[in-house]
Amino acid sequence: MSDYKLSHLQELEAESIHIIREVAAEFENPVMLYSIGKDSSVMVRLAEKAFAPGKVPFPLMHIDSKWKFKEMVQFRDEYAKKYGWNLIVESNMEAYNAGVGPFSHGSKVHTDLMKTQALLQALDKYKFDAAFGGARRDEERSRAKERIYSFRDKFHQWDPKNQRPELWDIYNARVHKGESIRVFPLSNWTELDIWQYIRLENIPIVPLYYAKERPVIELDGNLIMADDDRLPEQYRDKIQMRMVRFRTLGCWPLTGAVESNADTIEKIVEEMMTTTKSERTTRVIDFDQDASMEQKKREGYF
């Protein structure tokens, strides 16, 4: 019977494709949120697989906080063009014009205005009733309990105590007007699965994931890359070249690099298998408070 057996990656792939098609079939106006990170790259490929040889019947949307790494933005535009995606880019322009940024306003205010509020504004603007996100349950403790179809009220809020039961592969897609769901087709993938799949499928990712000599400064124990000239004056003479790579990508002042020599996909996977640190240690926004991610999720952040 071994002819009829799937590997764990094939099984995860099938589960995700089923979810993506189900949403496309049952919702009127879905969107796939695209963070340009490795998980998004996998999710986007799974969407392409779900509808091949046809086109994906929903757009990609990137919430641009205006502080993303330059290489991310470049990668985003090239990828969307090459694979024929309808790409929407939205930002909280009001806050941006008011000069909001992580150095001037701190990570909390910046994240709230440029990510959470920007996302909520964009969802309201286009009236999306389903939004795919690339979150995984192994990332963080509150996510371990979240459903694949995560119901949101009119204010986009998540209520962890009031989740719909979710059984087998039968998803409840019914929402009232104004309500929506967030969908997490990668729920059951682990970080290692993601990397193995990227290797196996040869999925393009932002070059920042590969180790390279980069200009960094040490900031509160994190290695922050000097990505553009908005780095405040007082840090500039502390810049040093180090061999680093990124395990997660986000706003450059809020994303720590790790020292690494992993400059090929195999080396990255090998590093993943032997690491002793979880990936979120490189995300500065998590240090705010205990259970901070759950708080953000309740407010509508992913």
């Binding site: 009829y4 590997s7 764990h8 099984e11 098609r21 998803y171 682990t190 193995q196 640190k277």
Partner: protein, 487 residues
């Protein structure tokens, strides 16, 4: 790892299969400790998570000097405050032989709902008992739910053996009690393991403190239990999920193989139309396949232009499911709001959505004793008949349109459904189909709406528009019968 060729190693590692398992037991049984131990000993708890854990353990732990693994697993704030797990949480780990997904569910009385949720996709269930108390009511309840869900492999983990001096007699007694009870349930594979989650005996390594135990350690068993025969490869069922029409030359039916195997060239029948065609190709992003099996997601094209929509099903003509509007099922009520028998629910079954009406509740099951409670045997009254949260009952349904189903115990994919409240949109109940029912068991009057257009005095030029609306309503699961001719 340095000595191994990394590419070779990864090629092999990527071929590992996946086992999903459920853990059931109460806080006191040491369930979280056992899961923590599996994760810890398989080196998947990262250093920084451990640091936070040690900090939390000192502040609010319940495990004395030991690391309180439960704190690592209990995710949400509210739960941490209450000191109990209140929902299903998923954990991931892998060994050199397999990847695992754990559905960690609480054993607390009012949370039958969560265990059912966590168990619906599981290949295997670990049921924990405390060696000091043995098989208790809760053990029976968990085992009953596991059998109801059709889980084929059960591990009875007899925990806290350290507290009974690793006494063989204590273990043997629990095993014989359990086997006696479980013989009436349909569980093909049962394995009993004596262990101590706290000390690690027989969890990852075989313990020297149980020399009389000849079976495998828990992890060893999890790594080797064969699961590739558990799926139904006999009965080809392909619920169409999405019709793919990228251009005029291509029309494909996308879906997941629910069960059975389909090959290029196979003769297939579309349900409910009964139209016959042949499989022209099985298309995927990665190229065409000669055959497909569960749970693969593919796109099937047919030799003939036959009309098949979402919710319809492709099958082999010589192996058809039951096609009916009437069936009975074991139903688990998941909603805080009790069942309103007069409500017309939405039912979602495979990729089909329609309305469903409760015709009859034959009996409810006391999950602690497995006793049947009915009006006939005087255990229920008309008032106590409607189902409440966490109750299980045998219920007869009529649906708005025909469903294509199999008994759940024979086919998990085509035997399962959910009921959705039409007002709150909550998933009110979940069901496992037993079989079709005879029409004489049914309430016969037709509760579905009828629009008699001539009788309503509607002019004939509006018929077409109304028919279109009725068709759209039907697509959304609200069947309306539209009569356009006077009889």
């Amino acid at each position: 790892m340095a000595t191994l060729d990394i590419k070779e190693f990864l090629d092999k590692d990527e071929q590992k299969d996946l086992l999903r398992f459920l853990t059931a037991g109460s806080v006191d049984d040491g369930k979280s400790t056992l899961i923590g131990r599996l994760l810890f000993d398989s080196k998947k708890i990262y250093e920084d998570q451990l640091d936070a854990l040690e900090r939390d353990s000192k502040r609010m732990g319940n495990a004395g000097d030991h690391i309180d693994y439960a704190l690592l697993l209990d995710g949400l704030k509210a739960e941490r405050e209450q000191g109990i797990t209140i929902d299903v949480a998923y954990r991931y780990f892998s060994t050199n032989n397999r990847k695992f997904i754990i559905a960690d569910t609480p054993g607390h009385e009012q949370y039958t709902r969560n265990m059912i949720t966590g168990g619906s996709t599981a290949n295997l269930a670990i049921i924990l008992v405390d060696a000091r108390t043995g098989v208790i009511t809760q053990t029976r309840r968990h085992t009953y739910l596991v059998s109801l869900l059709g889980i084929k492999h059960v591990v009875l983990a007899v925990n806290k053996m350290d507290l009974v001096d690793f006494d063989k007699e204590v273990f043997d007694k629990i095993v014989s009690d359990y086997k006696e009870f479980v013989s009436s349930l349909n569980i093909p594979d049962i394995t009993c393991i004596p262990l101590s989650a706290l000390d690690g005996d027989n969890v990852v390594e075989k313990s020297t403190r149980t020399p009389w135990y000849e079976g495998p350690a828990l992890l060893d068993f999890l790594e080797t239990v064969p699961i590739d025969q558990d799926r139904n490869f006999e009965d080809f069922r392909y619920p169409v999920q999405y019709v793919l029409r990228p251009n005029l030359n291509f029309r494909g039916f996308s879906g997941k193989i629910s069960s059975g195997i389909v090959r290029k060239g196979d003769t297939v029948m579309a349900l409910p139309s009964g139209k016959i065609s042949k499989v022209k190709s099985i298309v995927t992003y990665d190229g065409e396949l000669d055959y497909a099996f569960p749970p693969q997601c593919v796109t099937i094209t047919l030799e003939d232009e036959i009309d098949v929509s979402r919710g319809e099903m492709l099958v082999h003509p010589d192996n058809q499911p039951i096609v009916d509007r009437n069936f009975e099922a074991m139903l688990v009520w998941m909603d805080e709001e009790p069942m309103d028998i007069n409500k017309q629910f939405y039912i979602k079954h495979t990729t089909n959505l329609t309305r469903a009406r409760v015709d009859n509740i034959r009996y409810k099951v006391n999950v602690n004793t497995m006793e049947q409670l009915s009006i006939e045997n005087g255990q229920l009254t008309v008032d106590s008949l409607p189902m409440k949260l966490n109750e299980i009952g045998r219920v007869v349904f009529t649906t708005g349109k025909e469903l294509f189903f199999d008994p759940y115990q024979k086919n998990r994919q085509t035997g399962a459904f959910i009921l959705i409240d039409p007002i709150t949109n909550n998933t009110s109940a979940v069901g496992m189909i037993i079989d079709r029912v005879d029409v004489r068991d049914m309430v016969t009057e037709d509760a579905f709406a009828v629009l008699n257009l001539p009788e309503l005095g509607i002019a004939a030029e509006h018929y077409e528009a109304i028919r279109t609306i009725c068709k759209e309503l039907e697509r959304q699961g609200v069947p309306v019968k539209c009569i356009t001719e006077n009889k």
